[in-house]
Symmetry: C2
Subunit: 359 residues, 2 copies
């Protein structure tokens, strides 16, 4: 088992990465009182709930099982968690375990952030995407029909428990979507890792356990370093949003759940790469190299046909990075180096989007 | 104008107290960008909105007017604020001004806490109760049908602007309810202030401006000291909940909005005083003295007739101070000295409630 640390003063916490972690006794030290609630979904429940429950025999454990999918990441479903906790008379010192992918982690974390103004929670991510990205860093929240992740809170977990064994049950589509976020770390700040990924993507797709463990660890190291520097995203943390301004527009525009988050941001990263080329940072060869790695991963880099540049711009105008209505995007200075959000003219965005679509 | 400071490191902020503060230019220094949203209600809008708007002519100001009353302090109404802000394309650097009483401050503050994971906000309290209590300290949130203030966040404002002139428009019932929270400070930690209140309650009821200004300032000093010591209520801050365990049960049990918050906690403080007597801390004379000051304020100290001790206990079992299901209550060691939350047996609570009701 590897152990990393997210260094945030009194809010610091460990990330455990390894095989069969549900069998190690990692939970106890991070749980404050008898009351434990597990938030999971209908897909994960039959696979891993019993395993986690075995670790929690000493506690009063309650379980709430939500439907599976991004379209359920709403305030209304978070309210069902609140109601459940109140009916069970859960106190402020209870602990919530989010057992699932990014949707469960985001919703469970947000419920933990707001229930009685904040209770402890543990992230137990069961998708690659959640393991390498959303479970680390304390971003929690839900979608609004007008914008992705628009309602939420920064609320750091007590611990992140990443059992790499669970990836065995992940379908190929989910695996590829997770690799998109892994590639992102290479693109924004870790050229060495990017080159490693170019050479090892097949191993990841074949679920080679050593390769997966390395990719998860390297991703979490990158994430933890950025989060430790800028917990509340007042500066550098924004580069983690590379590809997300475009990607969120695709997710919102096409209807939550149609594209997996990783699928949408893979396209978004290619669009942001093209914009970076237009701004004179990247070469055409760089952009092609970026498209290639996503295609090798089995991710479609073609933009949705039925979404106009106008629709993108409309949706991108609602984005957390924007200031006073200006659309701000993360670009790459080079492969391996992202720049901070920059305001981009609508006309340039439209041009990039139209030319991307025409490709 | 008086200026106090809530000392919380990087989250420190001023409380301004004085007459006609809306005319001083206090807003500008606390606003980050062009985008300003004012959250207010139908009662306050015709009285003070134009006055505040005059101060904000240099900004893009949008206003959302909510219905007035505790029964509207729900997640659903907070969601209307999110939708409004998204429709107006408000960014993460926008500023929300909560112009109203405690309900508007709590809801507006909670919306600010969660919109795009947190935007800046300014408290402009227009009731005595909000001025002396809820606007200071960063507690925000909404009610759940199963419990008062059960969903929320700690989110500190940029500033609290207390214009004592607005109290002129407050009805007598609201004024008395506000005085209940003022008296609370005397009871829990400021015996000198309690004695001053015993001697000056008539002046407050006659809206003597010097007396009101003194009471507000002294209350805010007490509140700011406690909050600075214990922002997240891991210890001493809980004493601010004196009377609230009983009072919240009354509010929830009778239906939100039937009792004003101050009315409910006035009864709750008398019930907590009787419990303190049963535990051997207060004398019968102390309890009478406490009841007397509330009665002089014009507050009813008779418990609602149609609420059984069983109902109280059921509702009190859902309280943020509870641990592992034990009901915990703040008692007084003496008038002017509260003790930290203590677990109280259900049988003793029932006995105190029944004997209080029989009085």
């Amino acid at each position: 088992m590897k152990q990393l640390q997210v260094a945030l003063g009194s809010r610091s916490y460990p990330i455990y990465i390894g095989e069969n972690l549900f069998k190690d006794n990692l939970f106890e030290q991070h749980i404050k009182s008898k009351q434990v609630v597990i938030v999971t979904n209908t897909t994960i429940e039959p696979l891993y709930l019993a395993l986690v429950m075995q670790q929690l025999e000493a506690y009063q454990v309650e379980t709430i099982v939500l439907p599976d999918g991004e379209n359920y990441k709403t305030l209304a479903y978070v309210e069902t968690i609140f109601t459940f906790l109140l009916e069970k008379k859960f106190s402020r010192n209870a602990t919530l375990c989010a057992l699932g992918g990014g949707v469960i982690g985001d919703m469970g974390g947000f419920a933990a952030a707001c229930y009685q103004r904040g209770i402890a929670f543990i992230q137990i991510p069961t998708t690659l995407l959640a393991q390498v990205d959303s479970s680390v860093g304390g971003k929690t929240g839900v979608n609004h029909i007008l914008g992705k992740n628009m309602i939420g809170a920064f609320h750091q977990p007590q611990a992140v428990i990443i059992d790499t064994q669970v990836l065995a049950s992940l379908d190929d589509r989910q695996l590829a979507a997770g690799i998109a976020e892994v590639i992102k770390y290479g693109l924004i700040r870790d050229i060495e890792f990017f080159i490693w990924l170019e050479n090892n993507i097949e191993k990841l797709l074949l679920r080679d356990s050593a390769a997966l463990a390395f990719a998860i660890e390297r991703s979490c190291i990158n994430k933890a370093e950025i989060v430790s520097q800028d917990e509340m995203e007042t500066g550098i943390r924004a580069i983690l949003n590379f590809g997300h301004t475009f990607g969120h527009a695709i997710e919102t525009g096409m209807g939550y759940g149609k594209y997996l988050h990783g699928e949408a941001i893979a396209i978004g990263m290619c669009q942001a790469a093209l914009l970076s080329q237009q701004l004179g940072y990247l070469t055409a060869a760089d952009v092609l190299r970026i498209k290639n790695i996503f295609e090798k991963t089995g991710l479609c880099v073609t933009a949705p046909k039925d979404m106009s540049a106008q629709t993108y711009v409309e949706l991108m105008s609602v984005d957390k990075k924007n200031i006073n209505g200006d659309i701000r995007v993360i670009c790459l200075h080079a492969i391996g180096t992202a720049c901070l959000p920059m305001a981009v003219e609508t006309s340039l965005l439209m041009q990039v989007l139209n030319s991307y679509n025409a490709d």
